[in-house]
Every structure is written in structure tokens, then in C-alpha cells.
């Protein structure tokens, strides 16, 4: 039996959830008991063969993993690198996120809770949570910034079809950050009955570690698939970074492979220099947001600055604390990709491979395109780059159609 979910021993974080100076718990005391309960349940589950077997079976039989590693030959020719796409877009619900929600929904059931709440930006995590809630017969409430409910109306409808209640959040910037605040408030008030199913590797301990462990199968699979396909490890792994769950998922198994370079591509929006972006590592500074210490977009008073990205899924002014640590330690490199670069890569994949990617994932594609010439120069040969195609583009068709001016008037 595969135990993809079980993390190797002796790695970060420490017992209190610290990745170096990042991570930890910056939460109201009212949540500490629930976080301790979750931590204990998660640790017990990860050493429980029956839990791991149930999780593996769900991933295989329900989510459709292992996802393919597809050699994108026509794209490769355009980019000047041998590009292998980790097809997380082929998973049930269309993204890597199904792995995390299945893991957390199983834990919710184990803890005897009957209700899950979630926050969502693009709606992918909301749809995944609503899906798992339907499968496990849990009550489901999804908080979503009002702005995002408008730009992702299709996913709102999906969540409702699946039986979830979608609550548009009208405070602050009315995007993902504010949805997360509302979900935290709900959790403080209903912690006895409710599990907060956080959608990314951020938030207070143990969420960053737990979410990473539930999605780390992406990298475990990709590593083996790359070995099988090419006979060697890749030269680089590329992923987009908003909160950072898909990136951690694919990075984690490669962290000990020091010859494999890890690249996280943040949403550069209109350009980091314009201040209108969502690049927390490239354009932010260390601070505390949503229960953890990490890189945050903030002013000198510590007030959070609104993020901007054409991708609702990356539009978040923080990042998971493990990415902050991977950046500080130099193990991973984080670079911004702006909206136009991402959309050019979106179009390129559509036209060369017949795959419509999520705009999130298009940032990773654009990043691979950006680093390919430099890697080729350094290596003196065509580099092999694994790109995490973390989600499919159905939800983004309207945004992309508007961007390219190809929507017929209704």
C-alpha cells in the first residue's frame, strides 16, 4: 500500500509549527483547543494504517489520482525546454485541491464534527469542499468575497448544486482575505461542531503542515513518473504560488533532491513595481496574517494591503509559511509573473496542446517559459522542467474570453 500522505520524519515544522522564524499560531485563545484537537487527530491519523488506506482509496477511486505526467511536445518546442505537465487538472473537481479536502473531510468525520466551513477565492476550493461535504454528508458553508462571487459565478452555482451555502463577504476588499476573516469568525463561534477546512498551506499550526501532507502526493507521483519517463529527476519543478498548496504539494518530495531546482511563480498582477500585484514573497515583508507568521503584503503600520491578480485563485496578500522558509533558506526561488505573461502562456497551452489551463497554472507555465533559456544556458542542454498544471480553465473561460476579446455579445 502506498503511504504518500505520510511525511518523512525529522522535517520542519517543529512541534509548535515553526518553519524557522515563520509559522506558529497567532490566533484567539478560543481556537487553541480546536487546533490542538485537530493536531492530535491529524497526527494519530497519519500513523493509522486504516486512515491512510481510506485516504489512498479515495484518491485513487474517487479523485482519479495518480494524475498523469504528460510530455507536452508542441509546447516544449515553443519554450525550449522538455516540459512535463503534472495533470492535476484531470482530478475530480478539476484541481489539486481535491486531495486536501478529502484528507480534511476524513479527519472531520473522525473528530465527530458535522459541519465544515471554507473560504474560497476562485471557487475551486469551495467546489472541492462542497464536493467532499456531499460525499461525507456534512453541512457545508463557504465564505467567498463578494467580488469573487461575481467573477466566479459558475463556481458559485456549482457549490449550490452540491448542497453548500455560499456566503458572499462584503467587508474589506471583498476578496479571499476577507472571506478567510469571516470563516475564522464563524469558527471561533462554532468550534464545537465545525471544522474549518482551510484551502491552502497557510493559517495557524497545524494547517500548513497538514495541508502539505495531504497534497504531497503530487510530488511523490511526479518524481516517480519523471524517473520512469526520462530515467532521471527533472532539472526544475515549476508551480504557481498564491497561498501555495499546489506548489508545496509538488515541491515537497523534491526538497531533499538538491539537484532539482524549485521555482514558485507568484502573481505579479500589473507588475510588482506598480504595487498592484499579489506577490507576497517578492513584493511583501515578514508579518503576521491569518494566524501565522509569513510574508505579507502590508504597509509600514502592518495593515494588510489589497492584492491584485487576474487570477482570483492567486489573489491573496499572504503565502503559506513553509514557502516563506523555503525562500529564506534559498531552497526554492520565487519570481513574479504578471497578468499579461500568464495570459500569453494560457493561450500558448490552448493552441499547442489543446489544454485550457486555469489562469493560476498559467502563471507556472509562463514562469517555465521565462526560466527555460537561463536553465538551458547553465546546463548546456535542453532542461527538463516539470510544471504543475494545478487546475483546469473551465472556471476562467469568462475571464480569459474577456481578456482576449473573444466573447460574443449576448
Amino acid at each position: 500500500m502506498s503511504t504518500d500522505a505520510a511525511a518523512p520524519a525529522g522535517q520542519l515544522p517543529d512541534a509548535a509549527g515553526h518553519f524557522g522564524r515563520f509559522g506558529g499560531r497567532f490566533v484567539p485563545e478560543a481556537l487553541v483547543a480546536a487546533l490542538d484537537e485537530l493536531d492530535a487527530a491529524y497526527r494519530k491519523a497519519m500513523t493509522d494504517e486504516s486512515f491512510l488506506a481510506e485516504f489512498d482509496a479515495l484518491l485513487r477511486d474517487y479523485a482519479g489520482t495518480p494524475s498523469l505526467l504528460y510530455e507536452a511536445r508542441r509546447l516544449s518546442a515553443q519554450i525550449g525546454a522538455r516540459v512535463l505537465l503534472k495533470r492535476e487538472d484531470l482530478n475530480h473537481t478539476g484541481a489539486h485541491k481535491v486531495r486536501n479536502v478529502l484528507g480534511q473531510a476524513l479527519l472531520t468525520k473522525r473528530m465527530g464534527k458535522r459541519r465544515v466551513i471554507a473560504e474560497t477565492g476562485a471557487g475551486q476550493h469551495g467546489v472541492a469542499t462542497a464536493t467532499a461535504a456531499a460525499l461525507f454528508d456534512l453541512e457545508c458553508v463557504v465564505y467567498m468575497g463578494e467580488v469573487d462571487t461575481e467573477r466566479q459565478a459558475l463556481n458559485v452555482a456549482r457549490m449550490r448544486m452540491l448542497g453548500a451555502t455560499v456566503v458572499p463577504v462584503t467587508t474589506g476588499s471583498r476578496t479571499l482575505k476577507d472571506a478567510m476573516n469571516e470563516a475564522m469568525r464563524d469558527w471561533v463561534a462554532n468550534v464545537d461542531s465545525t471544522h474549518y477546512l482551510i484551502g491552502t498551506a497557510a493559517g495557524p499550526h497545524p494547517f500548513p503542515e497538514m495541508v502539505r501532507d495531504f497534497v504531497r502526493g503530487i510530488g511523490v507521483e511526479a518524481r516517480q513518473q519523471c524517473l520512469d519517463l526520462t530515467g532521471a529527476l527533472p532539472d526544475a519543478v515549476a508551480a504557481c504560488v498564491g497561498g501555495g498548496s499546489n506548489a508545496l504539494g509538488i515541491f515537497h518530495a523534491f526538497v531533499p533532491d538538491t539537484g532539482v531546482r524549485l521555482f514558485g511563480f507568484e502573481a505579479g498582477g500589473e507588475g510588482v513595481a506598480t504595487g498592484r500585484h499579489a506577490a507576497s514573497i517578492t513584493g511583501g515583508s515578514a508579518g503576521v496574517l491569518h494566524g501565522t507568521r509569513t510574508y505579507v503584503l502590508q504597509n509600514s503600520d502592518g495593515q494588510t494591503i489589497e492584492s491584485h491578480s487576474i487570477s482570483a485563485g492567486l489573489d491573496y496578500p499572504g503565502v503559506g509559511p513553509e514557502h516563506a522558509w523555503l525562500h529564506d533558506s534559498g531552497r526554492a526561488t520565487y519570481l513574479p509573473v504578471d497578468d499579461d505573461e500568464a495570459m500569453a502562456a494560457f493561450q500558448l497551452l490552448c493552441r499547442t496542446e489543446g489544454i485550457i489551463p486555469a489562469i493560476e497554472s498559467s502563471h507556472a507555465l509562463a514562469g517555465a517559459r521565462k526560466i527555460a533559456p537561463q536553465l538551458a544556458a547553465e546546463l548546456g542542454r535542453e532542461p527538463v522542467i516539470v510544471v504543475n498544471l494545478s487546475g483546469r480553465g473551465d472556471k476562467d473561460v469568462h475571464t480569459a474570453g474577456a481578456y482576449f476579446g473573444i466573447l460574443d455579445k449576448e
Binding site: A16, G24, R25, F26, V27, P28, E29, A30, V32, A33, A34, T171, G172, K177, N181, M184, R185, V188, A189, N190, V191, D192, G287, V288, L289, H290, G291, V296, Q298, S300, D301, G302, Q303, T304
Partner: protein
């Protein structure tokens, strides 16, 4: 040793609980917030809790969040909140600051402690900082002689109550309910239980907050706690008023009602 102890000693001599009133600095303006807090003191509030407005206040309900948003939109800076502390301390009231952690980290923990002490503040209430993450603040508060108020909750285990009060100085903040700030129609049944659990592990004064908004509720809480903490109901007086004068009038009336409540505890 505790700066806020004066307020508790005085109230104890009168045989009553302390009334703590909360207001975000800079709401609706810095001067307006100083006027509001001064009016509260004049009407009988013993301790003013000056909240530093923050963009992502996860423990606050809609009333205080709206007030904080107004303050931030008006351009209030952390330094302005210290000016408010100084002005209110000059009235003779005890002033404690309530703050989410990130603004303090960005200001510089030791620098903030130094400046708060210089402004006459007694210490900090930290709703999203638990003792485990508070190393820098523990050191800075020692260095500058400031009080530390961590929160405890009905969900806190006995071990956590003991650990948390061990790090408090001045008073401990008992959250009456599982939830966020905001006045509620009924007082909490969990609060008296939590306070009696605290009495087992500490001699520190216990303040009870969240959900208290009327004189009758204040009297109920004063029956078992050493301090009654009121926020949203006071903030609402200013938020709902058509102009500043009306806001101050409403604020004085509610403060007086609450002050009357803590003087007539329901035991």
C-alpha cells in the same frame, strides 16, 4: 508592579467592579476618538481600552470592524494611537491598549513598549497573541514595566488557564462566550463558570468581555467578575449618531448606565 492595579485597588475600596470601555483610536478621527474616550471617563468609565485599528480584526464583530475601517480610511497610524493614549491618560483614567499583533511587530516590539510606557499606557490586551508566541513581548513588557493581558476562553483547558494566567500581569481577560465582539441580548452562562475556574488558579483580577452592552448586563457580570469590559455597544453610540454631539451624548448616557451597573452588582 502592575500599572493598571491602581484602578482595581480603587474599585475594590469602593466594593465594586471596574468598568472598562473600549474604543478604536482614530474613530471617527483621532481628535473625535479622544473626545469620545474623554466623555466615557467623565461619565464613569474607569479604564479606557484603546484599540489600535487593524485591517483584519478576526476577534471583532461588525460594529468594531466598521469603526476600525473608518479609522483606517481616515489615515490613522500606529503613532496616532499613542497620541490618543497620552491624551486619555492625562484625564487620570487608566489606559490599556488592545491590539492585534502585526501592527506591533511592524512598529518594533520594544520600541512600541517604550513609547506606550512613555505615553502613560498601562499595557496591552492581545487578542491574537497567545503566550507561546509572545517571547518578544514578554521581554519588552518586563523591560518597560507594562502589564500583559492575555485572553482565556470557555474552551481553554485547565492546563492552559494556568499557563496563561502565569504570563498575565495586571488582569486576565475572560471571553464570556465563544464568538466575536458584539453586544448580545443575553449574558453568558459560560462566563461565571470560567471565572470560577480562573479563581482556582490565580489571584489576578478577572475582567469579563464580549457581549455586554447594558447596565443590567454589567450588573450581572459585576456580580462575579472584577472588571466588566464593554466595546461594541459603546462604539455603536458613535457609529449610529447623526453627528459628533449626538454621539457624545449617547456615549455619556450609556457609560453612566454601565457605571451604575457595576456599582449595583447582581449577586
Amino acid at each position: 508592579m502592575s500599572r493598571i492595579g491602581v484602578a482595581f485597588d480603587k474599585a475594590r475600596a469602593d466594593g465594586r467592579a471596574v468598568l472598562v470601555g473600549c474604543m478604536p483610536a482614530g474613530f471617527p478621527t483621532v481628535e473625535g476618538s479622544i473626545a469620545a474616550m474623554t466623555a466615557m471617563v467623565e461619565a464613569g468609565v474607569d479604564v479606557i481600552e484603546v484599540e489600535i485599528p487593524y485591517s483584519d480584526p478576526v476577534m471583532d464583530g461588525p460594529v468594531i470592524q466598521k469603526a476600525s475601517d473608518i479609522a483606517l480610511a481616515g489615515g490613522v497610524r500606529t503613532a496616532d494611537t499613542l497620541r490618543a493614549v497620552e491624551a486619555v491618560a492625562a484625564t487620570g483614567a487608566s489606559v490599556v491598549t488592545m491590539t492585534y499583533w502585526n501592527p506591533i511587530e511592524q512598529y518594533g516590539v520594544d520600541a512600541f513598549a517604550r513609547d506606550l510606557a512613555a505615553a502613560g499606557g498601562t499595557g496591552l490586551i492581545t487578542p491574537d497573541l497567545i503566550p507561546e508566541e509572545a517571547g518578544e513581548w514578554l521581554a519588552a513588557s518586563e523591560a518597560h514595566g507594562l502589564d500583559r493581558t492575555f485572553l482565556v476562553s470557555p474552551s481553554s483547558t485547565d492546563a492552559r488557564l494556568k499557563m496563561t494566567v502565569g504570563h498575565c500581569r495586571g488582569f486576565v481577560y475572560a471571553t464570556a462566550i465563544m464568538g466575536v465582539t458584539g453586544a448580545r441580548s443575553q449574558t453568558s452562562e459560560a462566563a461565571p463558570v470560567l471565572v470560577s475556574r480562573l479563581r482556582e488558579v490565580t489571584d489576578l483580577p478577572v475582567g469579563v468581555g464580549l457581549g455586554v452592552g447594558t447596565g443590567a448586563q454589567a450588573a450581572t457580570v459585576a456580580g462575579y467578575a472584577d472588571a466588566v469590559i464593554v466595546g461594541s455597544a459603546l462604539v455603536r453610540c458613535v457609529l449610529d449618531a447623526p453627528d459628533q454631539a449626538a454621539g457624545l451624548t449617547a456615549l455619556r448616557a450609556l457609560s453612566a448606565e454601565l457605571a451604575e451597573g457595576v456599582r449595583n452588582p447582581a449577586r
